[in-house]
């Protein structure tokens, strides 16, 4: 038996992702976002979270998926890692589950390329459910963002 860990589950473009619960500050409904000029497209802007100004990242845009308009279910997950506090816009966040760290496999070969860096692994839950565990420090790596921009540009 590995370690039990609590994971926040959120949906993004028909897939399910997970972040350890201790990296998550709060989950908010959509808030007014102020655009910040001269930033990469996936940085949506900044929000006022109870007096603190926080940047918000569209996780779809960050992963190179097509962006979509926010819906009723859209949420902003405020995460804190590496000294950084950032909000992620996700399609939905509705579950907290316990998983055994033994059940996390390294990402399959198929998911190659630049995206693999962002993934810590894939967790199997139940019979037919796969959860993609995020590697937060890579997702928040700013140097990487610059690289990505160059690749995209």
């Amino acid at each position: 038996m590995g370690e039990e860990m609590k994971v926040i589950v959120f949906g993004l473009a028909d897939e399910e992702y997970g972040i350890e619960v201790d990296k998550v500050r709060t989950i908010e409904r959509m808030l007014p976002i102020t655009r910040v000029p001269k930033t990469p497209a996936f940085i949506k802007g900044v929000i006022n979270l109870r007096g603190v100004v926080l940047p918000v990242i569209d996780l779809r845009g960050r992963f190179g998926l097509s962006e979509s308009e926010p819906t009723e279910n859209s949420r902003i997950i405020i995460v804190a890692a590496n000294d950084l506090e950032v909000g992620f816009i996700v399609d939905a966040a509705n579950d907290v589950i316990d998983i055994d760290s033994d059940n996390i496999d390294s990402p399959p070969e198929v998911v190659g390329g630049i995206k693999a860096k962002y993934l810590r692994g894939v967790a199997k839950i139940g019979d037919n459910r796969l959860l993609i565990m995020l590697n937060l420090s890579e997702v928040l790596n700013k140097n990487e963002i610059i690289q990505l921009e160059q690749l995209e540009g």
Binding site: V36, P37, K38, V46, N48, G51, L84, E85, V86
Partner: protein
């Protein structure tokens, strides 16, 4: 007793004393004859020693003690300061500082100071250099006549005769534990023991006073004894509640030093005092044979001390975290105030408007006070520079005068905390690259000693800090070459740059004009770091230079980093804040008055032609463009001498805004210096006007 309760006080006061020691030693170095400075230094060292001993920081106390010994000789004109002594004392100060730092960091303040102690002791004994010993002995004659002897003529002659007759004469400082309840009783037991083992010739304070508990924690006795030093010490220390007994065996010289009057021809002229013969490696002793003199020093210091405490009671020390908390709470209040003002103007009820207006006035006053509480003189940053410059100049083998003006200029605490490193960098740059080595200076017809000015002054809503040297200035040719080589600019661009622009190249990333990497600068960290840091503080840095004459770095900083007055403007659906401090005026411009010169938009403004910048273009505004407007609102902003008109959509209002950072994830966004939260909870970005002026 719980020492932790006093620890923060101890740390604060130690820092004060260390600072004063540093400053005054530097002052003394420039005026070595001024003995009044030595007195101040001595008193600081003495207080520090006492505090450290009380708190149980033995290494700190013993090192201070050794420094005090040396200073005492200087104070009594038995020793002349020279470079060696200054260097050693400075080394001692450094060690003390690092020990206090250790204590601040939760350590025990222990350190191996034996090397410095040995140096200090060699100075004290006059061994480090023979000529100083002779100088000291020459000076000793009048020095001794100035000092008040503890012993009267009779007592000293008794002691002297005993010594000459081969008896053991001891000088003993007994320190009673601070928590001792019956000091007089313990003292009585000590006297009882001393009298059983010999004869008490003199005590300080007098026996009567000691019996009436008229003494602090320690007293001094001169005894003629039949037992040896060790036995005497052990005997006294076996009395309970005695903290320490420092026993010194006296010879005729040390007797004279310790309080004997000059007794005619027999008066020996030595530089040694009892303490130099002190048995222990002084590290063990918390207080020492010096206490006799220390007491006189304390007595003379007492009146001034009382004066000081009267002044002190008018101020209190406040933990900076509490001030920060106060500031944060206040900024919340400010946001609510703006919201209330909005609501009141919408609701239009006289009572509400009046109340809100009154609240605005009160909170305005409150804001002033809160901001003032956070203001600290730049002195707290500047005061470490004289020492740094002294050491650097020595290691560079240059002669440099640092002239500081405007140290009393006040800046917000948060700015103060951040500005130190950039200033260190710029000063090092001036010292290392600016001021020439002595032969070069002479060859250039300059004085041997270079001068570096460090100035601070207020101007409007800004504080300026300037670092100016009279060195060789910036070699524009060389700078241009390196900039081309490092790919900062192209050769083609280089031909078009003005002198000022060339000077500014030294702030470019990855730039260094140093031919070789020296110890002082060029550790791969360039002036670009300075520029980034200052920009992150909302300020900016410029450089002026005349080749062969010198360079001047000028840093402009905002007074405070927390609350500023700003003009709120609209660009379509978006709102932005422009700091009022850089706005010259606002107005309108008709489309037909906008001219194109060399492809740049220009307009006439008060008799001169100034460039026009479109804010919506700079910010890639999605919901506004002035292109289809016949008349556009403009804000004229200033950076130094340059004026620029910025086109905006609409003015909202002038307002006090609370500066918020965009966080660590979003850094170095051009033209945006931060964010603020408006009354309605929306985030508005703050424009950096300097970025709009090229």
């Amino acid at each position: 007793m719980d020492m932790n309760a006093y620890l923060s006080m101890f740390i604060d006061e130690s820092n004060d004393h260390l600072q004063s020691l540093n400053e005054n030693l530097l002052r003394l170095e420039s005026e070595p004859e001024d003995l009044s400075i030595v007195q101040v230094i001595f008193r600081s060292a003495h207080t520090l020693k006492g505090m450290s001993a009380t708190m149980g920081f033995e290494d700190l106390a013993s090192l201070t003690h050794e420094m005090e010994n040396v200073l005492d000789l200087v104070r009594n004109e038995k020793l002349k300061m020279d470079n060696f002594i200054f260097d050693t004392l400075f080394k001692g100060l450094d060690a003390l500082e690092s020990m206090v730092q250790d204590i601040i960091g939760g350590g025990t303040g222990r350190a191996d100071v034996s090397a410095i102690v040995a140096l200090l002791q060699s100075i004290f004994k006059g061994e480090y250099k023979n000529e100083s010993a002779s100088a000291a002995s020459a000076a000793s004659a009048d020095g001794s006549s100035g000092s008040e002897g503890i012993l009267d003529e009779f007592q000293s002659s008794v002691l002297l005769q005993s010594i000459e007759a081969g008896h053991s004469v001891f000088h003993t400082v007994v320190t009673i534990r601070e928590d001792c309840m019956l000091k007089a009783a313990r003292a009585y037991m000590v006297f009882d023991f001393l009298e059983r083992s010999g004869e008490v010739v003199k005590s300080q304070p007098s026996v009567q006073d000691i019996e009436q508990e008229k003494f602090e924690r320690s007293f001094t006795v001169f005894t003629i004894s039949s037992i040896n030093q060790e036995e005497l010490k052990n005997g006294i220390e076996s009395v309970s509640e005695i903290e320490s007994a420092v026993v010194t065996q006296l010879d005729s010289e040390s007797l004279f030093q310790l309080g004997g009057r000059p007794t005619g021809a027999s008066s020996p002229a030595g530089t040694q005092s009892a303490a130099s013969a002190a048995p222990a490696p002084a590290a063990a002793a918390s207080s020492d044979a010096k206490a006799a003199k220390a007491q006189t020093a304390a007595a003379s210091a007492a009146p001034s001390g009382q004066g000081g405490s009267a002044a002190l009671s008018r101020t209190i020390r406040v933990d900076i975290e509490r001030l920060d908390a106060l500031m944060n709470l206040f900024s919340e209040l400010l946001i609510d105030r703006v919201r209330l003002e909005q609501l009141a103007s919408e609701i239009r009820r006289t009572e509400l408007s009046e109340t809100v207006e009154h609240m605005s006035r009160v909170s305005g006053d409150l804001q002033n006070i809160v901001l003032k509480l956070r203001m600290v003189p730049v002195e707290s940053v500047f005061n470490r520079f004289p020492r740094m410059v002294r050491d650097l100049a020595k290691s560079l083998d240059k002669k440099i005068d640092l002239v500081i003006t405007g140290a009393e200029t006040e800046l917000d605490r948060t700015v103060i905390d951040e500005i130190g490193d950039p200033l260190v960098h710029l000063l090092r740059n001036s010292l290392d690259h600016g001021v020439e080595p002595i032969p070069d200076r002479i060859a250039a017809g300059k004085e041997e000693t270079g001068t570096v000015h460090l100035r601070a002054f207020h101007s409007g809503n800004h504080v300026f800090i300037e670092i100016e040297d009279d060195g060789r200035g910036i070699n524009k040719e060389k700078v241009t070459q390196i900039a081309i080589k490092n790919g900062v600019i192209t050769a083609d661009e280089a031909t078009r740059l003005t002198d000022n622009e060339i000077n500014m190249l030294i702030f470019a990333a990855g730039f260094s004009t140093a031919d070789k990497i020296s110890d002082i600068s060029g550790r791969g960290v360039g002036l670009d770091v300075v520029k980034t840091k200052i920009s992150s503080l909302g300020g900016h840095v410029t450089v002026e230079s005349v080749e062969g004459k010198g360079s001047k770095f000028s840093i402009q900083l905002p007074l405070t980093l927390s609350i500023i007055s700003a003009m709120l403007v609209k660009l379509g659906t978006e709102k932005y804040a422009i700091p009022l401090s850089s706005i010259v005026e606002t107005g309108m411009v008709r489309r037909e008055h906008i001219r194109k010169i060399h492809g740049n938009l220009m307009m006439e403004f008060r008799g001169s032609v100034i460039p026009i910048v479109s804010l919506s273009q700079v910010l890639q505004s999605p919901s506004y463009s002035e292109a289809d407007e016949a008349e556009t609102e403009i804000v004229v902003i200033r950076k130094g001498e340059k004026l620029v008109a910025v086109m905006v959509d609409e003015f909202i209002s002038q307002s006090d805004i609370v500066l918020k950072s965009l966080g660590k994830y979003l850094t170095n966004i051009e033209t945006i210096s931060g964010a603020t939260i408006l009354g309605d909870g929306q985030v508005a970005l703050i424009i950096d006007p300097n970025a709009l002026i090229k």
